[in-house]
Every structure is written in C-alpha cells, then in structure tokens.
Symmetry: C2
Subunit: 492 residues, 2 copies
C-alpha cells in the first residue's frame, strides 16, 4: 500500500485554508455528538522519523476541548512496560467513551523496529500482527472508532530534515539514532512499513497514508479523514457485531451436574499436605521471580463456595512483595466507560509476579449476561474476546490457572444460614446473594456454556470440589504447583 | 483455525431435535424481515470431499421459500468461466436484495486445489487471497451478509465414507479423483485449508467450522449460526461504512479546465490516418484473439461530445464476432437489487474479445452521486471499489483503456441546437440533456475528483479532445493500438 502510494496534487494554499476552516468547524461540532453518543475515538500517528508527527499533533488537538482528549506518547516501552504483555501499553491508553486518545506512535513503530533490528523472528512478528489485529477488532466490535495515520516523506526530504535538526544545537536532541538508521536504510524501512500496513489493514481499523511534506497540507488530510470517519462512526453507534467462531484449541469439559462432590480430606491429611505444598509453592515463587514468569490465578465459583479461604491458603505461601489479590466488584464509572477487559489489563501482574483475581473477566458471561448489564450481542461475543485476551497472556509467557469453586445447592444454603447466624460472618451475606441463589439454574447453564467455550488448552479451567473446603484448598495448591513447574520446565 | 479446532460435545438427540425446531422456526420468521429490509444473504459451503455438503444443503433450503433462494453449484469452472476473471463466477452468483444464494463450494475449494496441485505460484495465491478478501469486503460494505461454512471430518471418517460410496455402483460416480487424493494427503490438505481459512477470515465475512460427522448435528450448527448472523445483519441494515484509502498506484491527471481543446486534423490527415490505424487495429484484433487477451474500452464524456461516432471508428476495425458494444443506461430492477458493479461483471468480454462500454461503472461517482441515486457514503466508497474492480481485470490480463471525451460548453450548446434542428438527429437530444447541462460545473468537479482518484497506472484515463471529432477519433485509435501492442509485448 505504501510502496505504491503516490502523492496527490497539493491544492493551492487558498483552497487548503478554506478546507481547513471547514474541517475544523466540523470537528468542533462533532465533539458534542461524540460526547452525547459516548463514542470513543482512538487515533494513532505513525510514520518516518522527522515527518513532523509531534508538531502536527499539537495543531490537531488545538481544535478539541482539552477535557475530551488525551495524548499518549508511545516512545520506547519503559522498564515497567517491558514486563507486561506486548499490547499492555496500548490497551491501557484506550480512550473512554465520548473521548479521544491520540497515540503519538502506534504499534507500527514498535513492531517494525523490532523486525528491522532482527530482534523478533518471523514467527513472533506474525503473532504480533495477530495481536494487533485482534486488539483493533475488539475495540471496533465494542463501539470504538480506530483510525491510523502514517506520515510519509521521501528519502531526500527526510535527510534534509534530519540534517537541519542536527545542525541546530537546540534541536539536535530530537534526532534519534534510529531516525538516522532509517534514512540510511530507507528502502529497507519502507518495505517493513509497507508490510506492516498491509498486514494490519482492516476495514474496521483502516490505515491512511498522509503526504507529510507540507505542514498545512498534512493537517488538512488528517482533519478531513478524521471528521469523515467520525461522521460514519456516529451513524453506526447502535451497531451489532458478527459473532466469530472460537479459533483457539479447546478441551472438553465436564458439566457442573456431573461433578462428584463427595471428595474430602481428613484433618490430618489436610494439615500435612497443606504444609508440604505451601512450602513447595514458596520455593517456586522464588524461581518464577528470578525467571520473570508471570502467574495469573483466576477464581470463580458460587457464593459461599469458599473462594476466600482457598485464596488465603495460596497467598500464605507467597512472598508479599511478589503477589497481589485483586477483588473484582462491579466496575467503577471510569472502567465502565471503556472496553470491559480494560480494568483487567490494568490489574495484570508484572513479569515474575503473581496476581490472584477474586472473581474475574468471566463476569461478562455470567452476572452481566444474566442481569442484563450488557447486550446479548456483547456477552455472546465475549467468549472469543476472552479467549483472545488469555491468548495474549499465554503468548507473553504467563501461567494461567482458572478455578471454578464448586458446591451443591444444599451446601450453599447451609453456609448462608451459618453466616446469618454468626455475627462476625454476617457482613459476608447480602440480599444479593439470596437473589443470585434463586437464579441457580440460569447460572448453572451459563457456567456450562462458559466452560464449553473458554476451556482452552493454554488457559484451562479446573474444578475445585469444595463441599469439603479442605479438599478444594489442597487441590488448588496442587494444580497451581503443577502448572508452575511445567512452565519452568518449558523455559529451562 | 482449522488445525486447532476441536469438536464440541455433540448434544443428546433430544436436545438436537428441540434446538433444530427452534432454529428452523426462527429462520422461517426471518425470511419476511429479510425481504422487507432487502437484506442479501450469501452463504457458502466448503469442506472435505464426502463431508456431505450437498445433502445438508438440501435440508437447509427446505426451510426457505423457493422464491427466496438460489443454489449455485460451484464445481470446476466451465470452459466459458475459465475465460473470465477468477472472481467472475462468484460475483455473477451473488444474491439480489432480500434473497439468499447458497454456494455449494466457494473460493476455498478452487484456490486450495490450485495451490495443492502446484498450479499457482505463491505470488498468485496471495493475489487470489486479496481478491477474495476485497470481494467479500465489498459485499459487506454494500449491505450483504456473507457467511462461510467449512464442513470438517476426520481422516478416518472421510476414508470410511469414500469407501462406502465407491462400494455402491449407484454412488461411485460421486467420488472424484480429487476426493481420493485429499484423503491420501489428508494432512497436507488440512494445512492448505487451514491456511486459506486463516488468510480469509475477516469479521465482516467470518468462517465457521462445522463438525460434519453427524447429519443432524451439522444441520443444527449451520442453522443456529445462520439465524444468529441474520439477526445481527438485520439490526445493522442502515450501516455506514468506513471509507478506505486508495491502495493502488495513481498517476497525476490534468483538470478538465486545463485541457487545450484547440486540437484538430484536416480532412486529408484524418482520412489517411483513419485508414491506417483501422487496418492496424484489425490486425491486432487477430493477435489478441489468438493470445486470448481481453480488451475493455470504457467511454465517458459530456453529452454530445461525440462518443457514438468515436466508438464506431473503433468497432469498424474489429471483427464483429470478436467484440460487443455495451450501451449503459439506468440499471434494471434486477440489477439495482445487487451490488452496483454486478451488471458490469455480467458484461465483461471473454478472453480474446473486446467490449466497448458506452458509459460505464463511473456513473456511480457522476450521475448517481449528483442526482442522489445513492448515498454519499456509497459514492465516496466507490472510488476504491472501482479501482479494485479494475485491478481484478488487470490481474486477469486485460487491456483497459478509459476515455473521457471532452468538449467545451459552447461546443455542446452548438451541437444540442444542431440536433434539435436536424430531424434525424432529434431523438438524440432530450430534456435530460438540457438539465444535465445546467449542472455542468457540478459535473466538472465530480469528473476532476474521479480523475484524481481513479487514474491508476494499470487502468489510466485518456482525454479525447473532441471539439474536433476527427482529432478525437484518431487519438482514440492510436491510444488503443499502443495499449494493445504493449500488452502483446508483455505476453511475448
């Protein structure tokens, strides 16, 4: 696309000024609609070094009320970002509903640079392309407008600009070694950019190449494209989205009703095994810390199934500096205003750390589904979105363990009653728990569907039979230990 | 996607029957909505030989009123189809608004077969993937629902079925050599299918893999997916579509107002050159016939610019068995009910033949734009759609020559008056011509925009200065001859 791209004729200055005026006014008007219709807009600027992305960005945002946009400078990943999944820093910066995010530098820059420097294999490159495409598709499916600009200048023009910047001691710092390398390897770089643009062009998140030789002209191209895209997106604000088939390997999964809950341990067995396993887990925590393996433990299950106590038996074994428990309640307003997975991206561990999620992103296909907190199209789409999310985590190298803590209905009733009758436990039981209990069968169906659609080989579900809490705790420890040991073996 | 795909558990027969009943009823209800909302639905069935596509298709269509669907059996291309562009037979079979087309065998079958047999290079394979993706995206952009099913069975199952078919002399004919080859090279075939599915998966035209081991079960999977996709599509019937940037190489183009119209030929020059060029063209017609080069000549221009006479000077030189003139008026109802390029696909020459279009697909960005016959989103999108269309023709090997026959406003007025005053020419002039003349400036703008956006290197525009018709005719002949000679050289 880029290689064949030919400049259109630059209009006369008078025409540019007129059209700029028109596009600016349009953008000003659109802001109100964007806010009213809660449209999130993600705009990324990529392109050649010294193509003027920064200064143009400054001009574009002048037309937007500062309360409605954020600029994310996507320089090299920071040390902290390097310890996160590749997509992390992009996801974190997505706009909330009704607002803009302008990314100065998008995935193109990061990925092509790695490719050009030979830091990633073809296989890894391909995987990143898939990640980028999924990320953008998920945003679009969830109502985001995604637009990507590539600032294009010729080899000569780039050299001229770099020389000018280098000649002035006040601007010299703005020229990076990579900029110079690019210019010396212009053709090679062009080919890599072109490939990336081809690989990631989707009609739901299209690339627009802008001729960046003239400052006013590039501004006009961007503004006109932007207002046109916003126009289209505003018209489509009530869009339903095709449901994609899961493309990841699944394992078969037992139905809840087939689970044998008559499993238990004696107190002696329990104490003995607990001590041993916790010691083992503690050792492993050191190893994953050194090997920088991230561990993600996800807990779902019935109310009063014993999640809390189960989690405690795991965290007791861990160094407090290396883990976090994330209790997941209903989303806050600023979380609700973004893609529903955003708040989980925000809670991911760094590499070498452990995060335990007490309830998870699976809320989308359970409580949000059954209580109507999202549309049917939303939760139906979520199975694939979740598999994609966990695939990112798995590709990043994470150990992912998902627990379903299972009890039967009678056991729940007994525990509810016990809670009500025990003053120090009474806070644990609410009207909502009773209401949820009434929907037991609906939940059971939803859970079975969830198992069938998200029990991927790389992020499998595990049932913890928790009529006997001791049994469930030991089983959880054992599964976690096995999973970590396996990952350690892989990386040896 | 296919390689990693794992069967879900087949539900109990009772559950299947219940869900089948439900899905069937839904589909029956949806037909009315599909008709009312004028939704066109394209469903393609691909898969392993002996996976049972045909018999399942028979069962699916039983639920649909015969007036509302068509089955297109996409066997091997016929001799006639082989002389058309690759996409031709698929485009021809797209449904009209409010109806279904079921394709028994889609692009997957044709392209993977060519790939497996080594009949196409990697480069050609890649180009076909692009073609398929563009085709499907264009359909989706124009409001089509596109769904693709892959019928999956295992190696053993396929072998069992093929053996059973071969054993019975009444069914033996149904087993092709390719089916047997597939089974002997199951893994290799699987890889090719998987690759194709990955390459052509887009959220606007998704693949669904169906487990085809059990007849009722496969039927259920298809019906449930189908009704769900229809549901989504019906909700999105008023969709606007993002405008994509042109990705094809463009040449700069003069504006109409800059064209020097003071070019003329004397009668002697004209007669001499006409004779020579026509003779030359006549010779070339033989060569392109033998070399099977298709030639497409597109005429656009002002009313009374002299298109008719110009075309005649070309066709006079051609063997009547090898060319057709296609006068393009407003579309018929059955044409209007399909993608606007459909009627042009239907009028393409066979390889080795010449088609002259007297007015063309550019109507979309001229008359349809200015008279409001399509939405703004429609005509804005059309520039890229047209470039893609012509790219298909060019990849097919066609010579494409696009003429704009140019006169000035005074010349038009003089010719209009002359027509009115000449009894045998009076039919040529209508009220509409006068009305169009009043919109001269609007048209001129539209034409300039059209030039700027569709003057691709592989299908360039040529201006015929036609204040002097003789000059324009000779120029047309010369351009056509040059273009054909160049193509002949390429193929030598």
């Amino acid at each position: 696309m880029l290689k064949d791209w030919s400049n259109v004729i630059i209009p006369e200055e008078e025409e540019i000024n007129e059209r700029l005026e028109k596009a600016r006014n349009k953008l000003v008007q659109q802001q109100i609609l964007i806010m009213q219709k809660k449209l999130p807009v993600l705009v990324s600027f990529d392109g050649w070094g010294a193509a003027g992305k920064g200064s143009i960005l400054g001009k574009i945002i002048k037309n937007i009320d500062p309360r409605f946009f954020k600029v994310a400078v996507m320089d090299k990943p920071t040390e902290d970002e390097k310890r996160r999944p590749f997509l992390y820093r992009y996801v974190i910066n997505i706009p909330e509903a009704g607002k803009f995010t302008f990314m100065d530098g998008g995935c193109l820059d990061e990925v092509t640079k790695q490719k050009l420097s030979g830091k990633i294999t073809d296989e890894e490159y391909k995987r990143k392309i898939e990640s980028v495409k999924r990320f953008e598709r998920q945003l679009s499916d969830n109502g985001y407008l995604v637009i990507k600009f590539f600032f294009h200048i010729g080899e000569q023009e780039q050299r001229k600009r770099l020389t000018r910047l280098l000649d002035d001691k006040n601007t010299r710092w703005r020229v990076s070694e990579y900029d110079l390398w690019q210019n010396q390897h212009y053709k090679k770089s062009l080919k890599a950019f072109d490939q990336f643009i081809d690989d990631t062009s989707q009609s739901i998140a299209p690339w627009y190449i802008v001729d960046a030789t003239d400052k006013k002209w590039v501004q006009l191209q961007i503004l006109e494209t932007l207002v046109q895209a916003i126009d289209t997106a505003l018209k489509n604000s009530t869009l339903s989205v095709p449901l994609l088939q899961n493309a990841f390997p699944l394992n078969k999964m037992e139905k809840l009703s087939d689970i044998n809950l008559n499993k238990s341990l004696s107190d002696e067995e329990y104490e003995y095994m607990l001590k041993n396993y916790q010691k083992k887990l503690n050792n492993l925590h050191n190893i994953i810390y050194k090997k920088k393996i991230p561990v993600i433990i996800a807990y779902e299950g019935w109310d009063a199934a014993g999640k809390g106590g189960n989690i405690r038996r795991i965290t007791e074994a861990l160094d407090p500096r290396g883990y976090e428990v994330q209790p997941i309640a209903s989303p806050e307003p600023h979380e609700k205003a973004r893609h529903y997975l955003w708040r989980f991206w925000n809670r991911l561990p760094k590499s070498g750390h452990v995060t335990v999620f007490d309830r998870t992103w699976y809320g989308r296909v359970m409580v949000e589904r059954l209580e109507g907190f999202c549309s049917e199209n939303d939760w139906q789409r979520a199975y694939v979105e979740i598999n994609e999310f966990e695939k990112e985590l798995s590709d990043w190298g994470a150990v992912i363990v998902k627990f379903w803590v299972q009890i039967d209905k009678d056991t729940q009733l007994a525990r509810f009653k016990e809670r009500e009758n025990t003053p120090e436990k009474r806070w644990k039981i609410t009207d909502e728990d009773w209401r949820n209990r009434e929907k037991w069968d609906l939940y059971e169906n939803a859970v079975n569907e969830m198992f069938a659609k998200t029990n991927t080989t790389y992020a499998p579900w595990h049932i913890l039979e928790s009529n006997d809490k001791k049994y469930a705790r030991i089983k959880a420890l054992k599964i976690l230990i096995d999973a970590i040991e396996e990952k350690i073996k892989e990386t040896d």
